[in-house]
């Protein structure tokens, strides 16, 4: 067993992909000479050369579309969009084309690309560099969306993504690249669509993904001190989602709180909440709580940012309000 960070496990995943499939190539802004804005692609240019590791101009729509076209012609491109904020410039390609070409051609063509991108706040990067749009992409039929919170799932989900013949949006959180885990020596894959119970408990179900997992663990630790045992579910995938595991947990704990870094209005967490309330209504002791970022553009100041994104104080007070813990 080797201990790897998420950053290192993704680097390993990319190397595996390049080694195992001659059609794989990687493209994106500053992934080669610069070494990758988050250093995930560090060392790859030196090892694999510029045919396989392609630095692109700052033309998000252009190079994402190029990846789509190349995949339609038999290649297996992995694209890095520096942050999910910049993916808005490629939204036409992702939503109008990647997601729909297989359907509109009635299966004649496929778009087997992986788009890696970086989500999340917490880095004091201000209003245009701190957003969490993975829920948007998860709402689009034709796309698959995953977002790991640890190095084991990062490697496992990537291995599943590379075997997909569909467009996969692979969402990495900017604050989690340093998270370290023991990686099993034996080859494994993490299935896309399957949530995971990270901590078992009987009193409250906490649902989160990606950057909200550390907060879920913090909340759980605090509640444990009060003899409240929480069950933490890491969604890992946002589309598809196997809800069975979630329903089982809700039927056991009867109480649910969802942590979602997106704004309150129209959040993916609200969608999860609505599914639970419709399918498990008779099992619920109270409303499903959703804790989001406040409805403001992200302020730069650390003092303010920490209060805008979901935090331990807001989570505990919400849980107290809903369930009296």
């Amino acid at each position: 067993m080797a201990e790897l960070t998420i950053r290192e496990s993704l680097n390993k995943a990319l190397r595996e992909a390049l080694d195992n499939n001659e059609n794989v190539f990687i493209m994106g802004e500053d992934i080669g000479m610069y070494g990758g804005p988050y250093a995930v692609t560090k060392g790859l240019l030196e090892e694999y050369g510029s045919e396989k590791i392609m630095d692109t101009p700052i033309s998000e729509s252009g190079f994402v579309g190029a990846a789509i076209g190349a995949s339609m012609a038999g290649m297996k491109p992995i694209v890095e969009i520096m942050t999910i904020n910049f993916s808005l410039l490629a939204m036409d390609q992702i939503v109008n084309h990647a997601a729909k070409i297989h359907y509109m051609s009635d299966g004649q063509l496929s778009v087997p690309i992986i788009i890696r991108t970086v989500t999340g706040a917490g880095g004091r990067m201000g209003a245009t560099h701190s957003q969490s749009f993975e829920g948007w992409y998860a709402s689009v039929p034709g796309l698959k969306v995953v977002s790991p919170s640890n190095a084991i799932d990062a490697l496992g989900l990537f291995r599943s993504a590379i075997n997909e013949n569909n467009p996969v949006i692979f969402v990495e959180h900017s604050m989690l690249y340093g998270v370290k885990n023991e990686i099993p020596d034996q080859y494994y894959e993490t299935p896309i669509g399957l949530p995971k119970v990270l901590e078992k408990g009987n009193d409250l179900t906490l649902i989160a993904w990606s950057g909200m997992i550390p907060l879920a663990k913090l909340v759980s630790t605090e509640l444990n001190k009060r003899n409240i045992n929480t069950e933490i579910i890491d969604l890992r995938s946002l589309n598809p989602i196997d809800f069975e595991l979630i329903f089982e947990s809700v039927k056991k704990t009867n109480k649910v709180v969802i942590l979602d870094e997106y704004w309150e209005t129209g959040s993916f967490g609200s969608y999860i909440s609505s599914v639970i309330q419709e399918k498990c209504f008779d099992y619920l002791d109270g409303p499903v709580g959703v804790i989001n970022s406040l409805n403001v553009p992200m302020p730069y100041s650390a003092e303010l940012e920490d209060k805008v994104i979901p935090n331990i104080d807001r989570a505990l007070s919400k849980i107290k309000e809903l369930f009296g813990f």
Binding site: S61, V64, Q93, Q108, E164
Partner: protein, 324 residues
Amino acid sequence: MSNIDKETARSYLLEMSKIRHFEEACGRMYMQGKIKGFLHLYIGEEAIAVGAISQLTNQDYVITHYRDHGHALARGMDPNKIMAELYGKKGGSSRGKGGSMHLFDKKLNFMGGYAIVGGHLPIAIGLGLALKKQKKDGIVLCFFGDGAVNEGEFHESMNLAALWNLPVLFYLENNQYGMGTHVKKSSAAADILYKFADLYGMPATRIDGMDVLTVQDSAKEAINKIRTNGGPVLIEAMTYRFKGHSMADPASYREDSEVKQWEDKDPILLFKEYVKENNLLTDIDISNIENEVKVIIQNCLKFAENSPLPDMSVAMDKIYYSDN
């Protein structure tokens, strides 16, 4: 201008007439409510699809915009499947899930019609990138209109194609209107759109898109350049759509005199005169071609009419790729 033989003359006239009559039939069926949604007719622009696509080989890719019937037919797509697709029937090329703007035929390397202006240009770059990486000889013929030139994706794609030296023929069909807005009201470079290519170091030419032989010759030259040098070329073909932007558009923004002026350059009428003057085809040959086209159109309408409607299992199929 190159001399053509009788067989080529026959083929060009047949293909152009097929598109013209197909589109006219579409217009009638739209008025009857058989075809719904958006319907963009290619009438007036036939010489471009026929002349340019005639110069391709099977391994080359074609990708185009939403006014795509002409390109699909010229590439050899089955008129029956296209018409059934427009009717929203199960016998359509995408079993009724694509519609007029989204025709695809993978077997012909016809990589689709795309309906977000400029959106398919980056995809064309990707097809070219794949050809290069796979060390294949093919090229990508990418059609787009004058409206797309004002999209960022046009410039991003021109830059990428030139930067990476990709085998792409950028084919600008300048019919002078982006929906209802004249090119002069939408581009600061309206008179010299093809010159954008200069900035990217790309060979470019502007041609008369109403003459199928001019289209043929310039496409041949451009494709030779691409096959020899690997890098992209741009052609701007001056043309005109005789009908409105779509069936929903009465084209009230155009003067009758302007339409008349272009109708006088009707590519099919001009070509008929040419083939007769040059003793390539007789009146009887032409009349035979027209009869042949009539049968094709009658058959495709019959096929579409008789094709069953899709059921909901079709709607829920091919959202994602699956092995089973």
